[in-house]
Amino acid sequence: MNTSTPATGYAAIRSRVESSLNRRKAQETRFRLIGMTAVAIALGLVALLFATIVSKGLPAFWEATFELDVNFDKELVQIGPKPVREPTETPAAFQKRMLAWQTDLGFVDFNELLVQALAKHLPDAAKHPRDALRLITTGERFALRDMVMNDPGVVGQTRRLKLLADANVDVWLKGNIDRSLPDAQQQLSARTRAWADELKSKGVIQNRFSTALSMNPDSRSSLASAGLAGAFMGSLMMMIIVILLAVPIGVASAIYLEEFAPKNRWTDLIEVNINNLAAVPSIVFGLLGAAVFILWFKLPLSAPLVGGLVLTLMTLPTVIIATRSTLKAIPPSIREAALGVGASKVQSITDHVLPLALPGILTATIIGVAQALGETAPLLLIGMSAFVTTIPSTPLEQSTALPVAIYLWQGNELRNFFEARTSAAIMVLLALMLTLNSLAIWLRKRFETRW
């Protein structure tokens, strides 16, 4: 019936199989390529993100800085001796005298000192003091005042000081503004710009590594000296509260749920509840904090204590889940061995399970803290976006946090100065986060035990 020879039939099948094989192999290659592209895009995005942040932020650590000889002229700085507390005086009376002395100090024209110091390099400075003062950031006159306040002996002497240039001068000298813009659109007068260039070429202004970013609190009037110290302190306090509360509570509840809790509806509910809490949007915790801590308990707004409590509630599920998985990974044989030689359940846990789980618990803590450190939204709702220019010393004082400082800075009007500064703040935050995360990874690798 069939006239075709076996050979030709075989060839036909073979060619069909081969063409289908080729098609399938091409498909395979395509699929593989798509996968590789996806990974490459993901990696590329990480690289892009870090590259842009670092390239924008790194220059902000260096700021245009004057090196000037400032003469604390006796004629200009006329103040009485600094008050000393007398034994008969009440603290309140002394405080009043001290404040009066500080008020006197406040009337001293420190601007004039700066103009005189500038006049040594710019002969015309005294004629146009307004233009001259625009060169130096306004915070520096308070720095001079504080120098006198801390050590009145400086009056009458000449000191060589490093003073930050105004933010606009920094922008101008770094070329972050179009130099060809007409005068009306420039932040600085033509004279101030010319002076800035002149001083730069004379070497009076240099681009120096600035500690203002890390050592100063935030400031609205003196942008060039605005720093992160207040936000850093606030974040630090909140992290301490998180560690003190979230870790013991989280570990304890993980131990209960994993080791003691009977398997019933109730514990099932707790388990679903914790898993759900871990996925609740962080802003909901902010609402909880606003309603419970601020409205009901009347705790102060913007306080690191409230922030710490809110972040504790937020990180608790993370700590519980991570600790539970650590406890789960410890084989039952360890517990059984302890129970077998007569230990009680509590003894088997405190003496055998917990020591073995310690590295895992530490990792869980670090992950929780890293999560809390980067959180912004809930803090906005409990008033931590308030503008705070002091460094808090107790957890009940007004404060802000690192991520909130970033949020505030990105909205500053002086864009071409604050874009870099915000990036620098982000670099600080990311450095902290990456350190914490790599510590967690290292701990996991170092102490990982395969049972």
């Binding site: 498909q27 395979e28 699929f31 593989r32 996968g35 590789m36 996806a38 990974v39 993901a42 990480v46 993100l49 842009t52 942040i53 009440t90 603290p91 309140a92 509570i249 304890a252 509840s253 209960y256 749920l257 003691f260 809790a261 707790i270 679903v272 509840n273 898993n275 759900n276 809490l277 996925a279 609740v280 949007p281 962080s282 802003i283 909901v284 915790f285 609402l287 909880l288 606003a290 309603a291 409205l295 608790l316 009680s344 359940k345 450190l373 980067g374 959180e375 912004t376 939204a377 709702l381 008033g383 976006s385 991520p403 949020y407 990105q410 990036s423 982000i426 990311l430 986060m433 995360n437």
Partner: protein, 461 residues
């Protein structure tokens, strides 16, 4: 004495109680006629029991004093002052108390101090020292009684270990109840405030209204309008949809490549690097969207002849998608690696290529888990705040155009609760109603996702 001092003293006393309990149990171990007896519990459990009995009541007294002592003293002082001397206004009362406090502590005041104030301050100082003495005495008595009780009842048969362990377990249970209380707190606080909001605005207007424009009432007629949440909801869903459109293909393909193709070395390097994306704070993504992605997309649109705003649903959605990639990829990766090897081997043995195995065998098997992961990712996208605050443009209009600025539920919560607003006005209270809506939405997504994932796990265990 400050709190730290009290805590230190209490620690020292606790150590003392421990030693006393220890010593007592050793004595109990010797019977009247001098024979050693068999103890039920080891001595250090007796020590801990003594500490618990002595310290817990004393600490309770201390906490009560810290919480209410100040208030009680202030009320007593104000009550004892002559009728006319206490101002009605609570603000002025606080100022007065501040002044009295400064006088009483010896810090002193400058300026005029009236005789009434001086007397009240002396009263306050007296009450304060009396209060401190009473509290110290109470704490001492409570601790001594506890210790005495331990001393009297300790015998060789005392089941000290069981008692201590029961206390430990109670502590553990209390700790795990914190999570429950948190949820209850979230629901109750938001429900309470939301109900107050619904006294101003009917729920129908809120949930079905298409105009979001909550202004303070300037007409003086007490009419509140512009609280329709549909524009916010549509904005939220639009941004979340864009985010998923970016994250799902990238995340899923990354997971497949990592689980099925990548060599061990690639996996070891690339996985942690991608997970770095998950650890980056969302405010950083927001800044990235604002400074890089927005201008880039806007420029791209201009090149293609499209008008794309720099802050738009697209910008926020794309960056949020980037944020979610590691979330989807690591969850899906776990799920894909959980699919039993025998299923892959079966497909490969029949001559399937690797990609055919993945598409036709592994993915269908992993589908429930992946759906769960996607639901969790959607819930995260809906609740994400900082990226949309910075990059979505905050324009609460009902639109499906991704190139336009939108606003979302989370952005509005932030806007309504930051700034100097009265917490009792509907303009602030609406935040809680929105928060409750958000909570319920994410709750449903999370629970469904958890159930799906759990079912899936059980299937292969």
């Amino acid at each position: 004495m400050n709190n730290l001092g009290v805590v230190l003293v209490m620690l020292v006393l606790a150590a003392l109680a421990y030693q006393i309990g220890l010593a007592r149990s050793r004595r109990a171990a010797v019977s009247v006629d001098g024979h050693a007896m068999r103890m039920h519990s080891r001595p250090h459990y007796h020590g801990w029991l003594a500490v618990l009995r002595a310290a817990v009541p004393a600490f309770g007294v201390f906490v009560l004093w810290r919480l209410f002592g100040e208030q009680v003293i202030q009320n007593l002082v104000l009550g004892a002052m002559p009728a006319g001397a206490v101002p009605e206004d609570s603000m002025q009362q606080r100022v007065l108390l501040q002044r009295l406090g400064n006088l009483a502590s010896g810090f002193g005041l400058t300026g005029e101090v009236s005789a009434v104030e001086r007397a009240a301050a002396a009263h306050m100082a007296q009450l304060q020292s009396l209060g401190r003495m009473i509290v110290a005495a109470l704490m001492g008595t409570a601790a001594t009684l506890g210790l005495f009780w331990s001393w009297r009842t300790t015998t060789a048969q005392t089941r000290a270990r069981n008692k201590v362990e029961r206390a430990v377990q109670t502590g553990l249970i209390l700790c795990s109840a914190v999570a429950i209380f948190t949820t209850v707190g979230i629901v109750l606080s938001m429900l309470g405030e939301a109900l107050r909001f619904f006294q101003f605005i009917s729920p129908a207007d809120f949930f079905l209204g298409t105009v979001w424009n909550p202004r303070f009432d300037t007409s003086g007629q007490g009419v509140q309008s512009g609280f329709g949440m549909l524009p916010l909801l549509s904005g939220t869903l639009l941004v979340a949809a864009i985010a998923m459109a970016v994250a799902l293909p990238l995340g899923l393909m990354t997971a497949i490549y990592m689980a099925e193709y990548a060599s061990h070395r690639t996996r070891n390097v690339a996985k942690p690097v991608i997970e770095v994306l998950a650890g980056i704070p969302t405010i950083v993504y927001g800044f990235f969207a604002l400074v890089i992605m927005g201008p880039f997309l806007s420029g791209l649109g201009a090149a293609l002849g499209l008008e794309i705003r720099a802050t738009s649903a697209l910008t926020a959605g794309v960056v949020m998608g980037i944020m979610i990639i590691p979330f989807i990829s690591s969850l899906s990766d776990d799920i894909i690696t959980q699919v039993p090897k025998s299923m892959r081997d079966g497909s490969l043995a029949l001559g399937g290529t690797k990609s055919e195995t993945v598409v036709k065998v592994v993915l269908p098997a992993a589908l429930p888990g992946i759906v769960g992961a996607v639901l969790l990712a959607v819930s995260r996208a809906i609740g994400e705040t900082m990226i949309v605050v910075l990059a979505a443009g905050n324009a609460p209009v009902l639109t499906a155009n991704p190139f336009e600025a939108v606003s979302t539920v989370t952005v509005t919560i932030v806007n309504q609760l930051t700034g100097d607003q009265d917490f009792a006005s509907p303009q602030s209270l609406v935040a809680f109603a929105l928060g409750l809506t958000l909570f319920v939405m994410t709750l449903i997504l999370n629970v469904v996702a958890l159930v799906v994932v759990r079912r899936y796990r059980e299937q292969y265990e």
